[in-house]
């Protein structure tokens, strides 16, 4: 890696998700690449959900952080390959868990729509991030944001968010 690319990675490392401030954009898999393009440095980001209101904020954060660090770079938004929770780093998942959000399972490989709906019960067990119990139940497919579902622990009785596989 060349010095400007390393400097950009280092500067952007401090950026966290606007709604989950414990996890960095790199750990979330939103910050995909820093590369030398034809017209200079390019920072590649991939949006999460199409309607995620945080994406505008994230792009602004990336631009202002680069500007403050004196790094001239263009921000490139890349749709394909589509962002997936499988890109989330292990350290990122551990931070989510410590923050009280159950981290996402691996996305089911190549599952068709009919199988997706059928939903194998065992694969969907989401352990409570507070007490570790597997005795949990989904209360709503959609939590405070589109990326999360709302669960309830039947042992410690606490509600919690589950970051859905995407």
């Amino acid at each position: 890696m060349t010095a400007p690319i390393e400097a950009a990675w280092a500067a952007l490392e401090e950026l966290t998700d606007p709604e989950i401030p414990v996890i960095s954009l790199r750990e979330l898999g939103i910050l995909r690449d820093v590369r030398q393009g034809a017209d200079g440095l390019e920072v590649v980001i991939t949006p999460t959900y199409s309607g995620c209101p945080a994406m505008g904020q994230i792009e602004d954060d990336v631009k202002s952080t680069l500007a403050n660090a004196g790094i001239a770079a263009r921000v490139v938004t890349q749709l394909a390959p589509a962002w997936t929770t499988d890109w989330m780093s292990e350290e990122g998942k551990a931070k989510l868990h410590a923050y009280g959000i159950a981290p996402p399972h691996q996305t089911p490989a190549g599952s068709n729509v009919v199988r997706f709906i059928a939903r194998p019960a065992r694969a969907e067990t989401v352990p409570c991030p507070l007490c570790g119990s597997a005795n949990t139940v989904e209360s709503s497919h959609f939590g405070s944001t589109a990326c999360k579902a709302l669960y309830k622990c039947l042992d410690c009785q606490e509600p919690f968010d589950y970051f859905k596989p995407y």
Binding site: P47, Y49, S50, G51, C52, P53, L79, A80, P81, A82, W83, T84, N112, V113, V114, F116, I117, R119, S139, S140, H141, F142, G143, S144, T145, A146, L150, K164, Y166
Partner: protein, 260 residues
């Protein structure tokens, strides 16, 4: 380029119009969780519409923008399925606001999501790489929309006498509108010929399987279809779209180029 634009507008308008309809529940949901769920579904749909409008704007060039496409086209220029613009109630229920029926909302979302789960998957192979990329993202989202509406369809259909009757009535009312899915428009034919679009009739058997399995679980009866086939995707709409657009577009038209 023309076939791509007409087809992309059809997909975008579907997402925007249903997103706007679902958003009417924001602050009025039957329970807090459903208020939040429908708002999240709307955000996804409006996000999908934005990506598609941005793509159309880049193909058209000039001073075309996503906002221009969403806020400054009139009823006859919209290319959405008629199903998606109907209010949240049956044909003879009076005012939209006073008689919003959640069963109608759920049935509509289920019928459309079942189609789009199949269509987005097929469109991942579109010859238009940008559309294929949007399809890949949208597929991940619509699967959750389908799961959500299907669960509620089963819960309401296999629920109380009242919930069963209401969701069956909604199904009887809305199901004939799905005929429009399978009646190919000239714009669709052109897009298919160009390798951009997908012939939805090739998805019909899978759609039937998803729908029939859910209806059986929900103890609902699949209504017969027949009669007038709507042509919303060709710009011929019901009287309801004008009111929806008036509400959605009035602010942007009162303050053109405003930003905040």
């Amino acid at each position: 380029m023309k076939p791509a634009i007409d087809y992309l507008l059809h997909l975008a308008d579907n997402a925007l119009v249903l997103g706007q309809r679902n958003a009417e529940w924001c602050g009025h949901g039957p329970i807090l969780e459903e208020d939040i769920a429908l708002s999240n579904v709307s955000l996804d749909l409006i996000g999908q519409a934005r990506l598609l409008y941005q793509l159309v704007a880049s193909l058209k060039g000039g001073n075309c923008t996503e906002d221009r496409l969403a806020y400054f086209r009139d009823t006859h220029e919209f290319r959405n399925y008629t199903l998606l613009e109907l209010p949240h109630h049956g044909p003879l229920s009076g005012y939209a606001q006073s008689s919003m029926d959640y069963g109608t909302t759920i049935v509509r979302n289920f019928l459309y999501s079942a189609l789009m789960a199949l269509l987005w998957e097929a469109l991942e192979k579109s010859a238009n790489a940008d559309l294929a990329a949007i399809a890949g993202k949208s597929l991940k989202e619509v699967r959750y929309h389908l799961r959500h509406s299907r669960d509620w369809l089963v819960r309401l259909g296999d629920g109380t006498d009242e919930s069963h009757a209401r969701v069956q009535a909604a199904l009887d009312h809305l199901f004939p509108y799905t005929q429009e899915f399978w009646a190919q428009s000239p714009a669709e034919a052109q897009a298919i010929a160009a390798g951009i679009g997908v012939d939805v009739t090739t998805l019909q058997a899978d759609w039937d399987a998803i729908v029939d399995a859910a209806l059986a679980e929900a103890t609902l009866v699949r209504p017969p279809v027949g009669g007038y086939v709507t042509e919303g995707k060709q710009g011929i709409h019901s009287e309801h779209l004008g009111f929806l657009l008036a509400e959605m577009q009035s602010l942007a038209r009162a303050h053109p180029n405003g930003s905040w």
